[in-house]
Subunit: 313 residues, 2 copies
Amino acid sequence: MFFEGPEKKIEIALAPGQPSLRARGIDYWKEIVAKSRAQILSSVSNEHLDAHLLSESSLFVADQWLTMITCGRTDLVAAVLQLCADLGPGQFQYLIYERKNAQHQEYQPSNFFDDARRLSEAMPGKSFRFGDGDDHHVFLFHLDKPYAPAADDVTLEILMHGIDPQAARVFMSGPQRKKEFIREKSGVWTLLGPGFQVDDHLFEPMGYSLNAIRGVRYYTVHVTPQKIGSYVSFETNCVEDDVDETISRVLDLFKPQSCDVVLFQPQGARRKVRCRYPIKRAVRQSLACGYRVSFDHHFKPVEGAAPAFEIVL
Amino acid sequence: MFFEGPEKKIEIALAPGQPSLRARGIDYWKEIVAKSRAQILSSVSNEHLDAHLLSESSLFVADQWLTMITCGRTDLVAAVLQLCADLGPGQFQYLIYERKNAQHQEYQPSNFFDDARRLSEAMPGKSFRFGDGDDHHVFLFHLDKPYAPAADDVTLEILMHGIDPQAARVFMSGPQRKKEFIREKSGVWTLLGPGFQVDDHLFEPMGYSLNAIRGVRYYTVHVTPQKIGSYVSFETNCVEDDVDETISRVLDLFKPQSCDVVLFQPQGARRKVRCRYPIKRAVRQSLACGYRVSFDHHFKPVEGAAPAFEIVL
């Protein structure tokens, strides 16, 4: 059974003086998540952040901002529109909706153009495609409103397709595969900085999700190890001067056939991203909402030719 | 309005001793083409081959074989199933159905898996994917029956995405744009060998198709110059020892952002394909129906980074 790992993501920051998002309580967030057709499986909290593991990816809620990521056949925009209705769209200072190109768009309830039209009915926005239309790309819709991200507001995404079969095997479920086994064997926990509180989940029959938080910083990793359509996403807002090393360590673990590296940073910052895989496409765009976004599509070079993949119907 | 240039293709060879396909006459082929949701626009013939230009691509009919290519939102498999019903599937010695990954699969009436299931109900077959599932690829279904292609039965496809805007402009329609203009300015006619009979069509508001035949040899070129989703396919069975030069000349004309080069040749032949663009993936597969198929995905290297593409809803 095919599972669509590539995600949709929303980031929202409230306008100054709005009531806390966290204070709305878990039942409210359960309803919002349900709107997207997902469920909250478990949660961890610290003094700044609630991190919810979802049946399809993750939700992080702070007092003044949230990040929600969903995969599979979810409808993240429905959750956003519910938030708009509840909070009033004028209460957002910043909103960005990002969507990775799907492997099987025909199994999705909507495409990006549908999504952007629905969002546009609720707020003024601009839409972009980063990357070639016939190749890996991410779509992005943002609320067209000035915003000034803090100097340390940097988010790194590493979106990986075609996971090394041996690396993927660790994430398959079964009687021998416990969370402890993954923690020990997968190496994912070695990617986290010190002092992070972790919540992880092993899906049946396969798949793995991890949230980790420390203060306002988070890591989130989602592994779709399926033989067909294998995919891993790694995302963090804990970006120091070690971006290149982080990318390198993530690629060492998953050895993907290809990866897209996406970096959001405040305009004016000129953090560079390097990856040891060869590059096929690079896109740089400053957005009217204060971020500069980079998208790089990389691929693993192969020696010689491979046989075709036989499809069993 | 988005137009899906990437094609579906069928090749059929009759078992020995079957009545001529050409002898079925133009009205029969009009019906078959209509089954796929396309129409015959014009036709040219020689003593071996009828070449029909379609509203969506091309149909070549010889006495004992045919090649049909359709793009857009056509349903080529419906035409194949009609042929099966009319001729009896046992009368095919060889059948191959090929489908390029679509840019907007969600707008298609079926995906390859649907197609292969429908074909499998009519005949025993095998299915393959050439290229990564998350990247450029072609799917292929073939009738699982021994076949021995002639030594000179070689077919070259060059499937190009992201056409150079200046090259694409020549194919836009309008009051100044006549077929003569295209013939003179596009350079497409310089790709044809000497002595080919040509039939071409300029679509409104844009787009261009060309069939050219000489004996049993054909060229077929289809240009989707649209700014969003620009695409050109070039295909020929007129493959001498100049494959590399042909590829080079085709790329010179269209300067695409990426291209897939597909070559069918008899097993045992070991014709190599070279392309001056860097290569991302190479696939080689010998099929139980007697062909060896190569698929190479190439891309145009870019200097530095590009801005994001702004989407106007």
